[in-house]
Symmetry: none
Subunit: 144 residues, 2 copies
DNA sequence: TTGCGTGCAAAGGTTTTGCATGGCA
DNA sequence: TGCCATGCAAAACCTTTGCACGCAA
């Protein structure tokens, strides 16, 4: 019952492993490639994209674009587990992307849905701002 | 008081006019180029991107990415309206931009600042999702 | 053996950069 | 006149496609 998942190759397994190890955040084709290379499993970009496409069709990963980035983001979706609610904070200074798990966020989503009729896509929504590190550095620079 | 808006050129004006005529929806660099050409004002792609960048910095337009499309979307924002004090919800179905005044959202921002050290940028942050109207239409279509 | 999987090379599309020219103030 | 604006050409990216070879079943 592997529903057209295809052959079992080491490339496919490596990609899948990486996605599953990073369920809590999103990754890009480039970051997959990079990480796999470090692990000693070089996988061509083409292959990565092709597998991501298949996984998309099978509903095993989600694809979305994040504002401020140029490449598409992918994230494994465990069908068994309920989707994790987490937000992304993007620092406008250093570009860092923070994956924020916070129950307050879930509460806000519910509120916006109930009171404003808007169903939020919290996977895609990105909060822009300045992270703590950059605020500190900024202060130092201003003083120096 | 044009705060570094630069020279007044017909290209700049044409781009601005087009953006303002289409406040209620988003446009792409390509659609701007195309439309301006039809209006008899050919503007180079480079120039369009450069102006969009400037307008972004000045906070006169917002930039989005829309899933399923490859190019970035832009939308004019009136500065007169108090867009710095409220949040924006972008419907991924119809493209509608909703201006949301809600104390709960501000409370979340405070929380994120206090607990996570992240200072949010109200103006740039956009919540993606599906608006009530589109959810209703979706239901109708599903039913027949 | 069969046919999918793989990856190089190259194409396609969007956005950015270099540079010489053009035009506003 | 001085400096920014413009736009062509080309580069830089991300993603897809063509094609020959490799490998799982």
């Amino acid at each position: 019952m592997n529903q057209g998942a295809g052959y079992k190759t080491k490339q496919r397994q490596a990609i899948l492993d990486y996605l599953m190890e990073n369920k809590e955040k999103h990754v890009t084709a480039a970051s997959i490639s990079e990480h796999l290379a470090l692990d000693g499993t070089r996988v061509g970009t083409t292959t990565i994209y092709r597998h991501l496409d298949k996984l998309l069709e099978q509903g095993l990963v989600r694809k979305y674009t994040v504002d401020g980035t140029t490449s598409a983001c992918f994230q494994f979706t465990d069908k068994d587990e309920q989707c994790r609610e987490h937000f992304h904070l993007k620092c406008e200074k250093c570009g860092k992307l923070i994956h924020l798990n916070c129950s307050r966020v879930k509460a806000l989503c519910d509120h916006i849905f109930d009171e404003h009729g808007f169903e939020m896509d919290f996977f895609r929504t990105v909060f822009y701002g300045v992270c703590g590190d950059c605020r500190n550095h900024q202060t130092e620079e201003t003083e120096g």
